[in-house]
């Protein structure tokens, strides 16, 4: 709508409005679109410049009760109201707002814009280090990846300055003295909303207090903010769902993230598909799929992704010396067991399970898929063991299926792969370190110490073999996929890598959900620093491009790494056949070990408590079923079948090259 489309009220329209209990000191400031129906406005006070669109027809929101377009018992001050809105029972004011078409606002305290606001955009929050130093300027365009760079690359002044400029530029672009309520938004029974932008299709129901923030939303990814929610200095991204008295302060809630049951967050980000219920988070960097469900859990000053917090999970970032300035990292895929405790600073390798209380500061990032245990007060590590557990396999299968984001323009770029160059290069290093530790240990020694944690000497060789097995599976998985999908007619064609693939000898990185080679990330950073990327849109496009390069870069890394790993002078078809056979063996071993782990859920002691007055087996079978009938067991059987088929198919293709 533009100002020319609005017309002054006719005398007749003013007469009808006044008859309906409306009042204005200066009716000339109220303008309406052609076809405005004054009979649909009643009991309304007009102050300042008010623009009203057409008021026709009706709509039926989710409560099933028909609402007619119109304005009833409202106080309007400097507002533009789009076509066919229903506004009723506004006890305070709708002030300084642009209300787009087909918006429903009912039984509201007030929704006002006071002075200029950037609606939470550009607000700096103290993520990861509660003592400060990693301030992240949040905007509705902030992705897990851009936040990671802003928070973790503080040593690179030029980069941080460029990223801050991009955030500031975005904040300036939305800065206004008018708030916006997007098309098709429904706002019911809310109390006070101040300096908040709401995107199209959002539903705000029973919200208590929102101040200085943005509720991004889209028709294809509506956002819900529900009963009793209090939020200040916040960004809520598309498709998020926030309910039940949750309290957010200086916090970003990512796309498809669910928050509820009195969860509280301060100075934190919780990116896409995270879940926060009951518990408390403070200064956390919650990457995609950070999940905390239990009332007694506190996550503080940590970085997480694909993470599941057990009940009463806790950490300390305070040594009572210089303040709460320590931080911790749990790399992707970690879990913490009930009542686990970690003393920051510590870093836990990817896909590891932490059990018990840990008062040591350790770094296990060289050892993915590990158990971090507590034995008699000491922290111990079992490297690689978690690769063979049913939990890790189930997690890997479930995450992609639980992507709740429905918008096309997803912000966070996620590579879901459990086995990837990122974990593979860590396992290659881990394997070497374990063998070195074994070679250097005395036979009578029970433990060796590595970066603050103890590893049983007896397990050093076993665990290095676990890594080898996992690596044989990974390289084989990639080769099988390549054979099946690339339709190669020659060995050269099979092993060809993209000319624009970027890999090097440096470690792959996990940019909060996005896996990429170091050189690929360096190119992105260089472009940001040299000004080639200078706004949110081009930054997001570059991050998307990085994700799109993952497959080609991963293949190039595999091709580069295979000869050394398998000790091959030449990668010919015979060598590839051997790799496939090793893959076949390792895959079946993995499935057998996972099955053994899963079968424990059906063995003796797990029946305790079943058949409370007898007939334990029958009660167990009725409630839990049998292992043979278990759906996961069947899935494992299908996987075995698939391994056999893929081997046959792969060998067949190789034979034809």
């Amino acid at each position: 709508m533009n100002s020319e489309q609005y017309l002054p009220l006719s005398r007749e329209a003013i007469k009808i409005l006044e008859k309906n209990g409306c009042w204005s000191r200066s009716w000339e400031k109220v303008k309406v679109s052609s076809g405005f129906d004054p009979t649909r406005v009643a009991g309304t006070i007009f102050r300042g410049d008010v623009r009203i669109g057409r008021l026709e027809g009706h709509f039926i929101p989710m409560d099933g009760i028909r609402r007619y377009a119109g304005i009833f018992d409202a106080n309007l001050h400097n507002v533009v109201i789009g076509d066919n809105c229903h506004i009723s029972n506004i006890n305070g004011w709708l002030s300084n707002l642009i209300i787009e078409n087909e918006v429903l606002i009912e039984n509201l305290g007030s929704f006002v814009c006071q002075g200029e606001s950037s609606f939470g955009n550009g607000h700096a929050i103290e993520v990861l280090n509660e003592g400060g130093g990693r301030e992240l300027k949040i905007t509705e365009q902030t992705s897990a990846q851009t936040a990671y760079l802003s928070s973790l690359y503080r040593h690179d002044d030029k980069l941080i300055s460029a990223l801050d400029d991009i955030a500031d530029k975005y904040a300036d672009s939305v800065r206004s003295d008018r708030g916006t309520i997007g098309r098709g938004t429904y706002i019911f029974h809310c109390q006070n909303i101040v300096n908040v932008n709401v995107g199209p299709g959002a539903i705000l129901r029973g919200v208590q207090n929102l101040k200085e923030g943005t509720v991004a939303s889209a028709k294809d990814a509506p956002t819900f903010v529900g009963d009793g929610v209090i939020a200040k200095d916040f960004i809520i991204q598309k498709g998020a769902h926030i309910t039940d008295g949750s309290v957010l302060a200086s916090t970003l809630i990512g796309e498809g993230t669910k928050i509820g049951r009195q969860f509280s967050a301060e100075n934190s980000v919780l990116f896409s598909n995270s879940e926060g219920f009951h518990s408390e988070v403070c200064s956390i960097f919650g990457g995609p799929y950070t999940v905390t469900h239990h009332r007694s859990t506190l996550l503080i000053a940590g970085m997480f992704s694909f993470f599941n917090a057990g009940s009463a999970t806790n950490q300390s970032n305070h040594m009572y010396k210089l303040g709460p300035l320590h931080q911790g990292i749990l790399e992707r895929g970690c879990k913490t067991g009930s009542s686990s405790y970690l003393l920051w600073p510590s870093r836990v390798g990817a896909f590891s399970a932490v059990m018990g209380k840990h008062n040591a500061n350790f770094d296990t990032s060289d050892f993915p898929f590990s158990y971090v245990n507590e034995e008699k007060g000491k922290s111990t590590l079992v490297p690689g063991m978690n690769f063979f557990t049913v939990g890790t396999m189930r997690d890997g299968l479930k995450w992609p299926t639980r992507d709740r984001r429905t918008n096309e323009d997803k912000l966070d770029q996620i590579v879901f792969d459990v086995l990837s160059p990122y974990t593979a290069q860590k396992m290659i290093n881990g394997q070497r370190i374990l063998l070195d530790l074994y070679a250097g240990a005395e036979k009578g020694q029970e433990y060796v110490n590595y970066q603050g944690i103890l590893i049983k000497r007896l397990l050093l060789k076993t665990c290095s073999r676990y890594y080898r097995m996992a690596l044989e599976k990974y390289f084989g998985d990639v080769l099988v996929a390549r054979l099946q999908h690339a339709h190669p007619s020659s060995l050269n064609e099979l092993m060809r890598t993209n000319t624009d693939a970027q890999v090097d000898d440096k470690a792959w990185v996990d940019v909060s959900g996005l896996l990429c080679s170091r050189s690929r990330l360096d190119s992105l950073l260089a472009e940001i620093k040299n000004g080639g990327i200078a706004d949110s849109e081009s930054l997001q496009a570059a991050v998307v491009k990085t994700k799109q390069s993952y497959g080609a870069d991963a293949w190039a890394w595999v091709v580069k790494t295979i000869p050394a790993f398998f000790e091959l002078e030449e990668v010919d078809t015979d060598a590839l056949r051997t790799i496939l056979e090793k893959w076949h063996k390792s895959s079946l071993k993995l499935l057998n070990m996972v099955e053994m782990d899963a079968s424990k859920e059906f063995e003796g002691s797990v029946r305790i408590g079943f058949g409370i007055d007898g007939q334990a087996d029958a009660d167990f079978a009725a409630v839990r079923g049998t292992f043979e009938e278990n759906s996961f067991k069947k899935q494992l059987d299908d996987m075995r079948e698939q391994v056999e088929k893929s081997l046959a198919q792969g060998l067949d293709i190789l034979n034809k090259l």
């Binding site: 245990n373 397990l459 076993t462």
Partner: protein, 79 residues
């Protein structure tokens, strides 16, 4: 020392139990109290004691001391 005697020695040391408690039909988990981590450590300890390499999944499928004797003897026989 026979395979059985050597296995008993390893098991007693690792699980910190008296060797006399260990019988050929003793189950590692149910009778001797090995937890899942100790089962893995037992495999590693057998490997070191007999200087062999055991197939991980097959070894973890071994439930009794007698099974372990058969398994290890078979590995030793293969050389």
């Amino acid at each position: 020392m026979s395979t059985l005697e050597q296995i008993k020695q390893v098991v007693a040391e690792l699980l910190k139990i008296d060797e006399s408690r260990i019988q050929e039909d003793s189950k590692f988990v149910e009778d001797l109290g090995a937890d899942s981590m100790q089962s893995i450590e037992l495999v590693a300890a057998f490997e070191e004691a007999f200087d062999i390499e055991m197939d991980e999944d097959a070894a973890l499928g071994v439930k009794t001391v007698g099974d372990a004797v058969t398994f290890i003897d078979a590995v030793l026989a293969k050389g």
